[in-house]
Symmetry: C2
Amino acid sequence: MASKADYVYRDSSGRRLIDYPRPSVAVDTALLTLAPGDDTLSVLQVKRGGERGWALPGTFLHERERLMEAVLRSLRDKAGVRGLRPRQLHVYDDPVRDDRGWVLSVAHVMVVPASLLMTRSSTTRLMPVDGPGQMPYGHGDIIAMAVADARRRYQELPDPDGLLPDRFTVLELRQVHAAVVGRDLQKDTFRRAMDPHLIGTGEMTSGTRGRPAELFQRR
Amino acid sequence: MASKADYVYRDSSGRRLIDYPRPSVAVDTALLTLAPGDDTLSVLQVKRGGERGWALPGTFLHERERLMEAVLRSLRDKAGVRGLRPRQLHVYDDPVRDDRGWVLSVAHVMVVPASLLMTRSSTTRLMPVDGPGQMPYGHGDIIAMAVADARRRYQELPDPDGLLPDRFTVLELRQVHAAVVGRDLQKDTFRRAMDPHLIGTGEMTSGTRGRPAELFQRR
DNA sequence: CTAATAGTGTCTATCAGACACTATTAG
DNA sequence: CTAATAGTGTCTGATAGACACTATTAG
């Protein structure tokens, strides 16, 4: 183990400085989504260089960059997605989790509309969160924590991450929540729980089977 | 702004490497406690070098050290406390929050027994969380987030951080929770809410005013 | 008409909050 | 005895879950 004295330097004016070796810092983001017609959550994966296979989109933090900037940069460059606002989740700090060296990873999470992730390049894919395949860098753990975080937040408020568009029916909202929390939700109980957090627009759907539904917005 | 090419190097075998400048990584910990006879939360501060005054105990991460190791090291060296297990809270990443350079801070939080912090050296002090004084490095924000986190967790379970000893009365538990959440709690409602998470020991207090109280443990 | 979906009335079991009561100790 | 604290019975209002009912559309 290195002692403190190993890292003591002097600057040009002779002032005593201590500078320890620094870790690389990465950001990795679990973008969770609901493929059309699907009723379980999927996670976006991107193809990484080398033989590392599929992983979460991520990048190394650049000099004096904010974590959120790095997250948005990685999503733009690796997944072609813009305009998101992921939440910071947890720092993964096992010094051997990355075989390229000593790398801290700041994990992020957001639930997003599937339409944003439908660029369908050969370097991105969606995989179910309960079977995402083998992943490097401990990304499986990040996905598990991301899903748990999303479940907790979707228990409380209507679509807090904005997976749905501005206006939506209660059925659409319920289907999203059922997919996130991983079980069916009763329509009457669900509606009453969400009602205080919704604003009715007075506008109705049309052209659908059955009685038209009102469109709502988040309060 | 630097371009990616600025950071491309070759190792001894000519393999292409990219290495961006790395941030220093620090850990800072909000140790919240309840001074005897007090009914509001306090936070531990330590005297920092230079004219920076009172701040949260923290340290820089050493090479390949785990964040938790660094946290425990800083609490041992700067506050003389051992055996704690703080929770990771949030990464503060404003590149100008620390005038010594580019430093990420991983904030931690735990609620601890006041007896552990009573070393009473001239380099530590306890300050109320709602008026901790001016603090450097954005530590005021960390305290606010730490208190919010502790409040949320103490709403759900009895003394999750273990501020109390192994066995305690419901009154002691209620006083702790009232201090953490910042308001009085009714004794009957509180007892019924905590009851499913407690195990009675059958042992009773004695020598106190009034009827003896049973001692409980966490389930 | 029937099928399908939207939305609501209502019953029940549970629970938080509030109040009051009993229980047990010190002095 | 009184004062103080522990612990519980019980009422009430709110709410989640469940079921059933009405409402409104397509075809």
